[in-house]
Symmetry: none
Subunit: 326 residues, 2 copies
DNA sequence: AGAGTTTTGTATAGATGTTGTCCAGTTGAA
DNA sequence: TTCAACTGGACAACATCTATACAAAACTCT
């Protein structure tokens, strides 16, 4: 942060009151009621006021509130930490256990969201958004889904069925390529963002996710990455079109414990099979190799030869990863 | 000073009053009633007048209005931000939440970050993260960059040089495919997420972004989408591998005003040229067609034939989009 | 362990403040 | 004429304010 230029002409930007309560609520994830309650009860911040009495928060107020949100999410009591100085709060946050550091409370309880949605209802909404070529609407469905569904439910009852239905509708002519591309792009970005936001604890074992062949979409691999994160692994995502040498290099540089290969296309190809065998030779016997994706079964014998594990369902995948740690 | 903003190329000063309220309304997506109300109530802008009292807005007025539109879309209240200087507004916009709502973010503003603020310093950090195959570190650099750099600077002085440097280092053997893929994946997700979070006002004109050929990466197209959003357009992003019929379908369904074609590979291909011509026939003469990307110049004659505009630099692109609305 | 107390997040009601849109009437431009 | 733009007043929808209330969770103390 910039050094304080005290006594210099011109207002200090960090303390200038300029954010309305709506902005602060959005940026901190704290609901407006709670912002007012904390201020009234503990004097957590002292925002300025407009002429007509509306609150105006400064950047420093926002930082303070963000720190408090993290502390309360980590089971500190608001009454205990409310009056600390900014430095006190930063120090407390710094000594938080890393597990709690990334996973704060689910973000926006802010707006009054209408009643709980089922995965099936959300799926319908998503399909409508795809048919109308409205990427924003699709994003909004996915975003809402994260509030109502657990991560496994989200994967298994919304994202996978959605992609499957879009694929079916495309093949039978009800949807066009444009629809399919739009849906894939949005879902892919959504998954990648969700994965990036899930920070694993330090010291987590590392899983490399890649595909040896050239796939149009990388969604299966991203779903595997998401699952790996849920199981407590750190994930290095390399994507499609990765030669075995490159995968092995990444395993080596980062000291990975396992590799997941997404095998979508083509099925039963000799070049791909050779790449799989080469990968095993390059990484040595210590590293676990898992494989999944539509055409993984067609490589079953190759995979068995190199002591790789076929993981077609989430449970297989979880089981295989857990075995590697025991 | 950088001073290299994405403004229109014309030598005329930005302050010359020359746009009617109708043009400004189309270009900003703000309805005329609202433009007048903001001016009357808050003095948001002070456009010149013709002899008979019609408003004439300058380019700077338009920029100011676009910034205000983004801020109000992000829950800022017009009354709070109306009187800020242009720089204040730019600073506020740069602060807008960069990550997707719906998930807790890694914590940005704590004092832990030393003052790496310039684009060059951030670029160095980013290259280190890429070389170490640390996607999380690269994400964190990009996220911090959104706080310190304006969007055009971010595009032109961080993201584009980063991709270029990675490409160079890959070709000369210093980096491997794995590095290049990792960097592309992260940057792509970052851009797509940033774009998704920038919500255009209702009534904004629509730009379709697509590529007729099969590109490994879609980064150029995503950069174009980002630029379009900054200029106040709504963007429908379709991605690569799009037949002309599909692009035309999307234009038709959503009533788009313009199409941006990203032409990366292959250069001078007859099939691609035919697709470009077909696109013009399908969408009719009303829809603007722009083209950019590495191999766009190799299609210059085809593009000229169908009255499409070659947009290789941000300024060309901005100029072409603005012309369509005048 | 269990009863009582405190803490804490959320809810409601009623009173303003704020803001996008609309209307009526007028004037210049095509 | 017909259309676009101008002004100033009006208004409904929504945001935000204060104050009080309440239930669940956490804590205290026997």
């Amino acid at each position: 942060m910039p050094a304080n230029r005290d006594s210099a002409p011109g207002a200090a930007p960090d303390t200038a009151p300029r954010h309305s309560i709506a902005v602060v609520s959005r940026r901190t994830g704290l609901n407006q009621l709670l912002l007012r309650a904390w201020e009234r009860r503990y004097g957590v911040v002292a925002p300025g006021r407009t002429d007509t009495g509306r609150r105006l928060y400064s950047d420093l107020d926002i930082e303070r509130l963000l720190l408090l949100r993290r502390l309360t999410a980590a089971d500190h009591r608001i009454g205990d930490v409310a009056t600390g100085t900014l430095d006190d709060l930063r120090a407390l946050v710094a000594e938080l256990p890393p597990a709690a550091a990334g996973a704060a409370r689910p973000f926006p309880p802010a707006g009054t969201t209408p009643g709980a949605k089922t995965a099936a209802a959300l799926l319908d909404e998503a399909l409508v958004a795809v048919a109308a070529l409205q990427p924003g609407a699709l994003e909004s469905v996915l975003e809402r889904a994260t509030m109502h569904l657990s991560r496994p439910t989200l994967r298994q009852e919304l994202i996978q069925p959605l992609l499957q239905r879009v694929g079916e509708l495309w093949r039978d002519g009800s949807l066009r390529i444009a629809h399919e591309h739009m849906a894939s792009t949005i879902v892919q970005t959504f998954l990648a963002t969700a994965n990036a936001n899930q920070v694993p604890a330090t010291g987590s074992p590392l899983l490399v996710v890649a595909s040896p062949s050239r796939n149009r979409h990388e969604l299966g691999a991203l779903l595997a990455a998401s699952l790996g994160l849920d199981l407590g692994w750190e994930v290095l995502y390399l994507g499609a079109d990765m030669p075995a040498e490159e995968i092995a290099l990444a395993v080596d540089i980062r000291g990975a414990r396992a590799v997941f290969l997404s095998l979508i296309y083509p099925p039963g190809d000799a070049v791909v099979a050779a790449q799989i065998e080469l990968l095993r030779r390059l990484v040595g016997p210590q590293v676990g190799i898992l494989a999944g994706g539509g055409s993984a079964p067609s490589y079953a014998t190759t995979l068995a030869d190199i002591d790789a594990r076929l993981a077609m369902a989430p449970d297989d995948f979880a089981g295989a990863l857990n075995e590697l740690l025991s």
